[in-house]
């Protein structure tokens, strides 16, 4: 058993097998070797492993699809054992003094082209089999277990770090937990884990090596511990904790359908943050009153090119319809900084967090912005869509946005395209917006405080830099004062205020937010019911008087 320590971003226990996540497919590199016989031995061992894997697949397939269909795995085994194939690999290793991966890749190509050249359709297609066995060998040689990629069993994803564009591609149903070596508590891996309600450790003090791929492991999100090959005692202790967790969740479920109201009658809206349309199922399961932050950038990050108006319209329309009249607040494109899509060609910036991002891109390239606005307005005919603009620093920006919105509405009118009433609000995530919130409140329908960026800009701390985590105080009095100031300024104009940053889910601040008069908290779906529990147990008046803490 090996135990590692990481920083936990979400409590919870996960027990399962490790799947090491590597960036992209491995490219086969040609490297010189000195000991050809050792390299050949490596190849022989890899071949044996590959044959064993295929035998496993064969046995499984026989049970599931019958012997005739399973035969292909037997053929693959024979191909791996074919003398001509083997001789070619060994020959290349010996004569060229190169690594086994390279020798296999070349051999695979040669044999595949032999089949590809045949004047028989069936045989030509067999070149795919040759490629398949060669890739399998290379995967084994590179220490990557090909089987696990296709496994149906949910796994613990272990990675160096995960970029937002990578996390969106992961099949969420197959993930039990995340463990990363790098990344900070505010990274996107952390945000994803919170949305999915699964344990995650970051900054874990381990070395990534391929030997742990597929190993049994336990993630203890309460204590930040990562156990690889846990012993019986640890395993049973963790299983007990896991069972308790499940029991607790069941209890929270009894809070479904209840109003978010304090003992002394103060109400607050509990909405959900989502990053993908698939998350709406979680929103409903957890009884959210609406969607407080729909991160539309996933649509851009998952695309190879600018998503079309219709593609976007369909997504927003689905969200509106699925939420059936409940408010769906969609944040416009928030790309740039740590969220990059290649086709934007944003170019290198010295200081991307303070660079061309979010609304700044939209105002610089209004055609991209207009496409999204058109899609959003059209979708508003199908439900209660609200639009939220990120990274605002001035009243002037809001006025420019409104001009563009008017143009869009005019176009839609001319084209006889329907749209509904759309509330428009802004994110308060820059100190400038906080200071100007009295004037901004006159221009918009609502505010939503993005505490992650607000904290980063106010404290001048890079949220992606793990070495600064010790300096990063999310409860810094400056932030709490700012929130209070924004709430007061909004209320003076009769506008409502929400918090959609991570702070909103911080249960140690829930009473404080209620006392400040915050109207809405938008949190990961899994945090809704725990927050409701606290709200139901709070007497705000007593808290204000210091009688309750």
């Amino acid at each position: 058993m090996n135990v590692y320590q990481g920083k936990s971003v979400f409590g919870g226990i996960a027990i399962g097998r490790i799947s090491i996540y590597k960036k992209g497919e491995q490219q086969v590199k040609r490297t010189k070797i000195t000991d050809a016989s050792a390299e050949i031995k490596r190849y022989e061992e890899a071949k044996q492993t590959a044959i064993e894997q295929l035998q496993g697949l064969y046995d499984k397939a026989v049970k599931e699809v019958g012997e005739a269909n399973a035969a292909i795995f037997e053929i693959h085994q024979m191909m791996l054992e074919d003398d001509d194939y083997q001789d070619s690999v060994k020959n290349i290793i010996e004569t060229q003094q190169v690594n086994a991966e390279y020798a296999v890749a070349i051999t695979g190509d040669n044999f595949a082209s032999m089949f590809a050249a045949m004047d028989d359709d069936y045989m030509r297609e067999r070149s795919a089999d040759v490629k398949d066995i060669s890739e399998r060998l290379i995967s084994v040689l590179a220490g990557k277990n090909k089987e696990k990629v296709n496994t149906d069993e949910p796994v613990i994803i272990v990675a160096d770090d995960l970029a937002p564009s990578e996390t969106v591609q992961l099949d969420k149903d197959k993930i039990l937990a995340f463990v990363t070596v790098h990344g900070s508590t505010n990274s996107h891996t952390a945000i994803l884990a919170k949305t999915m309600n699964i344990p995650a450790l970051i900054g874990t003090d381990m070395m990534l090596n391929d030997e742990i791929d597929g190993a049994m492991a336990v993630v203890d999100g309460f204590n930040g511990k990562f156990y690889i090959n846990p012993d019986e005692e640890t395993l049973s202790e963790m299983q007990k904790k896991l069972d308790e967790e499940i029991e607790k969740k069941k209890l929270l479920q009894t809070l479904k359908g209840r109003e978010n109201i304090t003992l002394d009658g103060q109400k607050i809206m509990l909405y959900a943050n989502i990053g993908n349309i698939k998350d709406i199922a979680l929103v409903r399961q957890n009884d959210a009153g609406g969607i407080g932050l729909f991160r539309s950038e996933f649509i851009y990050l998952e695309s190879e090119d600018y998503p079309s108006e219709n593609d976007q319209f369909n997504i927003y329309k689905t969200a509106a319809e699925m939420m059936a009249g409940k408010r769906v607040i969609i944040r416009t494109l928030d790309i740039g900084a740590d969220k990059q899509a290649d086709y934007f060609n944003l170019g290198h910036e010295e200081n991307p967090a303070m660079g061309l991002r979010a609304i700044r891109i939209c105002l610089t390239r209004p055609e991209i912005f207009k496409t999204q606005l058109r899609a959003l307005f059209r979708a508003s005919a199908y439900g209660k869509i609200a639009i939220m603009y990120p990274m605002i620093i001035s009243v002037d920006e809001v006025r420019k946005i409104k001009e563009i919105v008017e143009e869009v509405k005019k176009e839609l009118d001319e084209q006889n395209l329907e749209y509904g009433e759309v509330e428009q609000g802004i994110m308060i995530e820059t100190p400038a917006a906080v200071i100007m919130s009295d004037e901004l409140a006159k221009e918009v329908d609502f505010f939503s405080i993005g505490t992650n960026d607000l904290t980063q800009y106010t404290l001048a701390i890079d949220r992606q830099n793990p070495s600064l985590d010790d300096f990063y105080d999310s409860h810094h009095p400056a932030i709490l004062r700012m929130i209070k100031m924004v709430v007061d300024n909004a209320h003076k104009e009769g506008k409502w205020v929400g918090i959609c940053g991570e702070l909103g889910a911080d249960t140690t601040l829930t009473k404080e937010f209620l006392a400040m008069g915050v109207d809405e908290l938008s949190v990961s779906p899994g945090r809704i019911l725990p927050l409701r529990k606290i709200i139901l147990e709070t007497d705000v008046e007593k808290y204000r008087k210091g009688l309750e803490c």
């Binding site: 035969a71 003398d83 194939y85 032999m114 089949f115 028989d120 067999r126």
Partner: protein, 85 residues
């Protein structure tokens, strides 16, 4: 040395699966077994060689056995071909 000719009757010819089956049969013998078609010859114990002949329905393939257990091998292969191809 023993030899026999066989005309493929199976509609799909010696494709991957029967090639695999054939190899399982011949692997059990020590003698050398060659399979040839149109002057092209291959080691019958190697899947790439057998598949490489791309023998189809109507083609004539020739098997050649050379070694101690050639009689038994010849009989087993002939049996296999009749039943499967």
């Amino acid at each position: 040395m023993k030899t026999f000719d066989y005309t493929i009757t199976d509609a799909q010819g010696i494709h991957a699966r029967p090639a695999g089956e054939l190899i399982k049969v011949v692997k059990g013998f020590n003698c050398s077994i060659q399979i040839s078609k149109d002057g092209k010859s291959a080691d019958c114990k190697k899947i790439f060689g057998v598949m490489g002949l791309a023998a189809k329905q109507g083609n004539v393939v020739t098997f050649t056995f050379d070694g101690e257990d050639e009689d038994a091998a010849c009989e087993a292969v002939s049996e296999f071909m009749k039943n499967n191809l």
